[in-house]
């Protein structure tokens, strides 16, 4: 029986950051009662620079789907299936067991192998052996988490994904600086994409995850840039008089929807990135802003105050009839589609509270997911299970994630500075 499949992990980026450098600490503030018990046994390891099983354990815990077993309560520490006494783990109420080992392959390479075992069926659900360079060990660990998550939930894992966000240091002081950063989904390996003493805003990933569009005020007025992440190379794609804001990449990667006020009030335009031609989608005296594409690229949802208060509207992406989508609540803004296109996430304001809400398009029912006073900038995880958003307590801005049913919440606290406008990489 060929239990192991050999796969090679090629790191997308050779990160130059010290391993184990975290920008964020993640705290699960609310978990799910129905979480499935899983025990990740510390991997047998010859002093690898990354504690792979600890990373896997933290990833799975963070998802909210699993209740992770405490290391101290483990009856034994098997690293191969022959060493596992299934009865012991059954007695402890564990459904699944993850075991593995890391061996030094020489030349800075490590062999990592793991098995996911079903405690009640006494057998293996998943087994892999991988080779990874020392620099890629964290990535390898996240990849293992993705494999386990998908096997157990049927949904793609998002642990090896990345997030972008804006952070401000020394806010209010002369040395204030704003940074657009990209980090692993667990907050490790933060990398600065752009830095300026003037505000940076509205990061939007290209669908292939290789580029980012954002707004920068570095020239004392708003401009939209498109930057290639690997090289830092960038192009200024919009710098019209007035607002140049809210860039949103089309699903096919060829266009940007954006907000311009060059013709009067802010309106939604679509910029063709290769021809640089502009197609205006909205007109009139109202504020129209915050465009977001449907996953099939056919429509664009946006915020407009044409009815007196900010509400979400939808328009065909090639132009056409505009229709109002939200009717409940006095403030519904910054809508974006779930990856399956069936729901919209938005900022839902009621009185002085601004919270994250999801609306199912089929029946227009709005479900408020968060309980902060100033929650904003919601962004769907690529697998649609979680929503990342920005929250504020006192003067501190931080990132939070909430599951689509609102039952699982986690807070990602920054070590310093204020952090906002998260965007989950596709």
């Amino acid at each position: 029986m060929n239990f192991f499949r050999r796969i090679l992990l090629i790191g997308l980026f050779g990160f130059n950051v010290p391993i184990g450098h975290a920008a964020l600490t993640i705290e699960i503030t609310e978990g799910v009662e129905s979480a499935v018990p899983v025990a990740v046994v510390p991997f047998a390891s010859q002093r690898a620079p990354v504690n792979i099983s600890a990373v896997v354990n933290a990833d799975l815990a963070r998802s909210g789907y699993f209740k992770m077993m405490n290391e101290q309560g483990m009856p034994s520490r098997p690293s191969s299936i022959a060493e596992v006494n299934f009865k012991d783990w059954q007695g402890l109420g564990q459904n699944y067991l993850v075991i593995g080992q890391v061996t030094d392959a020489g030349g800075g390479q490590y062999n990592v192998q793991f098995q996911l075992l079903d405690v009640y069926k006494n057998g293996q659900l998943l087994g892999y052996r991988m080779t990874s360079s020392a620099d890629d060990l964290r990535r390898t660990a996240h990849h293992i988490s993705d494999l386990i998550f998908e096997k157990l939930t049927g949904k793609k894992g998002v642990f090896s994904g990345r997030i972008a966000y804006i952070t401000t240091n020394n806010q209010g002081s002369k040395q204030q600086s704003h940074q657009l950063q990209v980090a692993d989904a667990d907050g490790f390996n933060p990398q600065t994409v752009a830095s300026s003493v003037e505000p940076l805003m509205s990061p939007s990933w290209s669908p292939d995850g290789k580029k980012m569009a954002y707004v920068s005020f570095e020239r004392k007025s708003a401009a939209i840039y498109v930057q290639t992440l690997a090289t830092g190379e960038r192009t200024r794609v919009a710098e019209f008089p007035g607002i140049n804001g809210a860039p949103a990449w089309s699903p096919d990667g060829t266009k940007l929807a954006l907000t311009l006020s060059k013709d009067g009030s802010p309106d939604i335009y679509v910029l063709n990135l290769s021809t640089r031609s502009l197609n205006r989608l909205t007109k009139g005296f109202s504020i129209d802003t915050e465009p977001a594409w449907s996953p099939d690229g056919s429509s664009i949802v946006f915020t407009s105050d044409r009815g007196g208060s900010p509400q979400l509207y939808i328009v065909p992406s090639k132009g056409g009839q505009e229709k109002r989508l939200t009717f409940s609540g006095d403030y519904n803004a910054r809508g974006s589609f779930s990856p399956d296109g069936k729901s919209l996430v938005m900022v839902h304001g009621n009185g002085n509270d601004y919270r994250i809400a999801v609306m199912e398009l089929a029946n227009r029912s709005i479900n408020v997911l968060t309980s902060g006073r100033s929650d904003e900038s919601p962004s769907f995880a690529p697998n649609g299970t979680m929503i990342l958003y920005a929250s504020k307590k006192g003067r501190t801005g931080f990132l939070s994630a909430v599951s689509l049913d609102g039952k699982m919440q986690q807070k990602m606290a920054f070590n310093s500075g204020e952090v906002r406008e998260p965007a989950w990489a596709p």
């Binding site: 994409v193 752009a194 920068s216 992440l229 190379e233 907000t259 915020t303």
Partner: protein, 200 residues
């Protein structure tokens, strides 16, 4: 004017040098030179993700050139004593607004009128109207609100004879707060338009 620009460029190259020596410059291959070179204006620094933290040109706001952000100690204070006299409306260069509103409140009408008169009398003088909002609600929507506020002030000035090309508008939304609390007191201070006099 010309001298100023030269100084800026010099200062910028000095900053670039110091920035480079301060970081582990494995490969500070940074691009966009073609676009940013023009005008000697502020560049943000950008970095390639798979390289060292490549520092590029740094943001410059040249001392005494208007400063960044919230400061009202702008160029205006050098224009004449009337801009520093607390009894003169020209010393007041911030217009405040009600929640979700871009309507100029009566208290601020004489202040805007005083600046308009000054601008009519000094047609070479240019100003920037910086629109701002409080933190509540979504960020890009607040950019739009800030612009509405700045446009409301601009509209009143134009009615009083200020020429279009004396006025520049930029909205920072909630990105440059004057006060940092999350309470009504801070929000009131943040819903504003700042009248920033440009160097002549």
């Amino acid at each position: 004017m010309k001298l100023n620009k030269t100084l800026l460029v010099l200062a910028m190259s000095a900053l670039m040098l110091s920035a480079c020596s301060g970081t582990d410059e494995k490969d500070a291959s940074l691009t966009d030179g073609s676009q940013n070179a023009a005008g000697g204006i502020n560049d943000a620094s950008t970095s390639g993700l798979n390289k060292g933290s490549g520092a590029y040109g740094s943001e410059m706001s040249g001392s005494g050139m208007g400063g960044s952000g919230v400061s009202n100690g702008d160029y205006a204070s050098t224009l004449g004593p009337e801009f520093n006299d607390p009894n003169n409306p020209l010393s007041k260069r911030t217009v405040y607004f009600m929640l979700d509103s871009s309507e100029v409140m009566p208290d601020f009408v004489p202040i805007i009128a005083a600046h308009a008169q000054y601008l009519v009398a000094n047609p070479v003088q240019r100003i920037t109207l910086e629109g701002h909002g409080d933190e509540r609600g979504s960020r890009e929507y607040n950019i739009a609100l800030g612009e509405q506020r700045a446009k409301a002030v601009a509209g009143m000035m134009k009615v009083q004879g200020v020429s279009e090309n004396q006025l520049q508008i930029v909205s920072y939304g909630e990105e440059k707060p004057a006060a940092f609390g999350s309470d009504e007191e801070s929000w009131e201070k943040n819903r504003r338009v700042e009248i920033v006099y440009q160097a002549r």
